[in-house]
Amino acid sequence: MLWLIPLFPLVGAILCGILHFRSLAAEREGASPERVRALAGWVAVSAIAASFAIVVTNWWTLVGQAGERVLESSAWAWIDAGSFHVDLSMVFDPLSSVMCLVITGVGLLIHIYSTGYMHGDAGYAKFFAYLNLFVSVMLVLVLSSSLIGLFVGWEGVGLCSYLLIGFWYDKTENAAAGQKAFVMNRIGDASFLLGSFLLISLFSTLDLSEIGEAVPELMASHPGSLALAALLLFGGACGKSAQFPLFTWLPDAMAGPTPVSALIHAATMVTSGIYLTIRLNPLFAAAPSVLLVIGFVGALTALIGASSALFQRDIKKVLAYSTVSQLGYMFLGLAAGAWSSALFHLVTHAFFKGLLFLGAGSVIHGMADEQDMVKMGGLKKHMPRTFVSFLAGAAALSGIPLMSGFFSKDEILTKAFANGALYWPLWIVGVFAAALTAFYTWRMVSLTFFGEERFREDGVHPHESPASMTVPLLILAAASVFGGVLNLPEVLPFSDLLGHWLEPVTELGDTILATGGGGAEHLAHATEWILLGLGSLIALVFAHRGFHAYRRGIVADEAARAKQPELVAFLEAAWRIDSTYMDKVVGSVKLLAFFIASVIDQLAIDGTINAAGAGARSLGARLRRLVDGSVENYALHMAAGAVLLALTWIWF
């Protein structure tokens, strides 16, 4: 039955693909493609709904189980390479159940939303084919028992991301953005692959749970190799989860339709790297040095993302950099060994960031495809439901007390703080980035929904989106507000639900960390309260400042630019990392390709050959009398020559 979870959306994808070609044919014949398209929407939504239902039933079974809490499907003997085998099976355990619930749950809402958002698009059925395919491979990613099965999903989601970023391929930028995402991901994948080869040579298996169980044995004998494998896999995670230095594709990925940004580039795909790390927590726990690297990268990425979001004018760009930044927090949590906190933030982030993207999509929809916040303002009157839900999302993202994001972010920062002096600098960076987060979030709210109605000059008449879009928004809004109850801090009642649920998965990693002297120390309740208070204070203060500074539009940015032109330009360009890649790396690759093709291949290698050929031809001209030019004679002479040569060689 577990195979059905990814199978439903897969079948849905195939059906929608067929319907897409049917709708094209209908259009060519002059008929209306609307009915075919509507059917595709229904197929796609029902496929996800079916999958969601199975996930929920399985989750309920899991809740009822005592002890182990694992469901496993039959296995498919996929690759038999002689020295190692890859058997694919689906494993439903506490970790994958949470992931599946998020993927199919949020996925279902986003599918419903998309039926409204994509209405009238020529590629409507194709869109749902890709979206369903995405959900299917994403489920394979989180359900696979083997690292290679995981990689199937890993590459599959990359493919869907590529296809969906470049969905409106008529624009070269969109196609180029898709291509960039794929290539940046492939850089990470190369690292992932090397990591998997190293794991094969260490463990002779790629079964995730077997690897985990075997880690303690190898810790003493091969600490370096284990650390290297963890680092290589983290390299893969950097690509998929948009961490420094491979994050630059994610802001460009906003070229895709907004529901895609919500589902793939905020809620699910980009969290694969976090899932991978939690799944292999024993391996990472055995490599404290790698954890420190992850913490450093995570904190740095959180800072780069949050600061780059400060001066963006495009509402989706703000959310994109925000996502980069929030993923950084999750890695910071993992680095502190707080596996369940990272997952907690993953889940709440899926709620509130999915919500914010969908809200932004609703705004863009209502504003006739306008994404520039400078041309918005005062939308709260015109789009009340979107506004209310967007507020909930913003509150959660900025960490306003009692919202879901408040608890999850705070938990990560607390664990980082509790992890010892080495992590204190990372904690400070995290707190600083949290302040920036509150600021840019409420700047966005202020610019979009409050203040003057700046869109009037452009003759835009904003309108509220249809119910198919606003109902998912309101549901996600509720989740963003109350999602915190999943894992309340220890000082409150009903604390740590998710942490306990996840224990069977994270136990081993925790034990390994504890024996190595790592992991978070237990904090006194007073300290916890102080940290909670500090978090609340920072969020409230900076949210207030961000909100009020932009009540009168973008002028605050101009003021900042006048004071610090260099800094603002630097942050607007996201620390100029992408432009450096484009100039330096892409430029040198192109140059090298040109050099290889023209200089080495044509001049050096081919030149030598042609020269030899020309020499042979001039010799041939002199021997022309001997030879009449027929191919048979040439061949005969060559064969004779060869035999002659061979005989001489043998006898002397």
Binding site: G82, S83, V152, D170, K171, L194, F197, V589, A597, D601
Partner: protein, 509 residues
């Protein structure tokens, strides 16, 4: 049965000679012949036992004798057989051919009789190469398979066909010459021409002799594959060849090189293969990266695909000379994968060329808008070529790379960058052909693929998917022979290690 399989195309040749020189008739005969061969190929597939290491379905007839100076006589047989190394390639050849014949409807517009005659002669030649269990006979078929391509290239090729043909011919002859020397000296020294017999006797030769013969074989096959730095004939030959010629060249003919390396390089001289594996790993990995960069710099789509072959065949060589179980299996599978993926790419390039009469990337853009079906197949093929899991390329590449990692992490790490660069040139080409605005007027009126074209593409795509999902069906057929080979290599490695240990012990004493 193998005799039938090999010579059936020649029966077709006879029919072609007798029939009138009309396109439909000639193509019909060729199609029918190739279909019967394909069915026989599938029957062979069914009969073949994957777990068995030895040659199967063998047939042997005395042919002639070579008298050696010292009074010895080398009997030469007309001998056929198939084992785990050749089975996939034989079936690939048989199955690919009907699609090649079908594809000619779009681009062969003159001298039909000759064309299909050469095509079928070539099929006999290629099948003979893979099925020969006698060295002299192998050489016979090797040469036989080259002549037709020479004509196909020279008569039905593009505008620079003469240059390409002469280049192809010179390279090929040079390779054949070197191989002939190796063959003659091998016959002379072992006194047998039977390949199984040679495998057991070759190890007894003096190591320096072994090295020479191994080197000559390796050189001959390296030209054919082609391996860096002997690859420059390939891009020209592919660019100028008609679509069907390119499909055969990429699909099967190049595999004669990799097949030869495995059969006469590694299986015949495992010790030598082990001693020189470093060189081949280096050349394989370098070929992967070099070919990818070469492809990136191309502005002609067909030339780009041709250069990508250099990169993909680098994987095949790499996996083979990793000399590990996973590497060998992956390498043999990847030969088939390359045949399917690159064959598909050439077919697609041909289809768009027939419409636009250009292959320059800057003449396209936005084609997906007017040719959605073409776009689907193009993207599918690109993904198969780029090694997306679920499709054929991934399984082969993964086995090769993991097998290489066990032998040499360094070269595996170099080769793995091919995964990145491969995505770069393939996706850039995809974007430049399919995506972006429809800027060129000529492209706005392009017609999408017709049923004949879809009919050619679908079975190959299904095969790509099948290999990707259920590779064991295919790898399983190779397991017996390849396991025996890797077991032998393992033994040699262990012996070497023991000898080294003993000598170290003696030194310390």
């Amino acid at each position: 049965m193998l005799l039938w399989l090999t010579f059936l195309p020649l029966v077709g040749v006879l029919a072609i000679l007798l029939a009138p020189d009309r396109a439909g008739t000639q193509r019909g005969i060729a199609l029918l012949t190739s279909l019967v061969v394909a069915v026989l190929g599938l029957v062979l597939w069914g009969c073949f036992e994957g777990g068995d290491a030895a040659m199967q379905l063998t047939t042997s007839i005395d042919w002639f004798e070579i008298a050696l100076p010292a009074g010895h006589v080398v009997p030469v047989h007309f001998a056929f057989g198939v084992d785990g190394i050749s089975i996939l390639l034989v079936v690939l050849t048989a199955v690919l051919m009907p699609f090649v014949v079908l594809s000619t409807a779009g681009h062969i517009d003159k001298r039909f009789k000759e064309f299909f005659l050469w095509l079928l002669v070539m099929e006999t030649g290629m099948l003979g190469v893979f099925l020969s269990t006698d060295l002299v006979q192998f050489y016979f078929f090797w040469e036989l398979s080259l002549v037709p391509l020479y004509f196909i290239l020279g008569i039905w090729g593009g505008s620079r066909r003469l240059y390409a043909t002469i280049k192809f011919f010179l390279y090929t002859v040079a390779g054949s010459l070197v191989m002939l020397i190796a063959i003659i000296s091998l016959l002379y020294q072992t006194g047998t021409s039977d390949i199984s017999e040679l495998i057991s006797r070759a190890g007894g030769l003096d190591p320096s002799q072994q090295a020479w013969i191994f080197g000559s074989f390796a050189l001959a096959f390296a030209i054919k594959v082609p391996m860096l730095p002997f690859h420059t004939w390939l891009a020209d030959a592919h660019t100028e060849a008609p679509t069907s010629g390119s499909v055969i060249l990429a699909g099967v003919l190049l595999k004669m090189g990799t097949y030869g390396l495995l059969r006469f390089g590694i299986q015949l001289f495992p010790e030598m293969a082990l001693s020189y594996s470093g060189l081949f790993l280096c050349l394989g990995a370098a070929g992967i990266v070099y070919g990818a960069f070469l492809a990136m710099a191309q502005s002609d789509l067909k030339r780009l695909v041709a250069c990508s072959s250099v990169s993909h065949l680098g994987f095949v060589v790499l996996g083979m000379f990793a000399l590990t179980e996973a590497g060998l299996r992956g390498s043999v599978l990847q030969m088939v994968n390359h045949g399917i993926s690159t064959g598909l790419l050439f077919l697609l390039v041909g289809m768009i060329y027939e419409r636009r009469h250009t292959r320059m990337l800057d003449r396209f853009g936005g084609v997906a808008r007017v040719m959605p079906v073409f776009a689907f197949f193009f993207v599918f093929t690109v993904l198969s070529s780029a090694g997306l899991p679920g499709l054929n390329g991934f399984v082969g590449e993964y086995m090769i790379l993991s097998g290489t990692f066990l032998a040499s992490p360094l070269w595996a790490a170099v080769a793995v960058t091919g995964v990145i660069f491969g995505a770069v040139y393939l996706l850039v080409a995809t974007r430049r052909v399919l995506f972006g605005p429809l800027v060129h007027e000529e492209n706005k009126a392009l017609t999408d693929l017709g049923m004949r074209e879809i009919g050619i593409l679908v079975p190959l795509c299904v095969l790509a998917l099948w290999i990707g999902i259920s590779p064991n069906t295919f790898v399983g057929k190779t397991a017996g022979t390849l396991d025996q080979l890797s077991e032998r290599i393992h033994q040699i490695r262990a012996d070497d290690a023991r000898t080294a240990e003993v000598s170290l012990l003696e030194e310390t004493r």
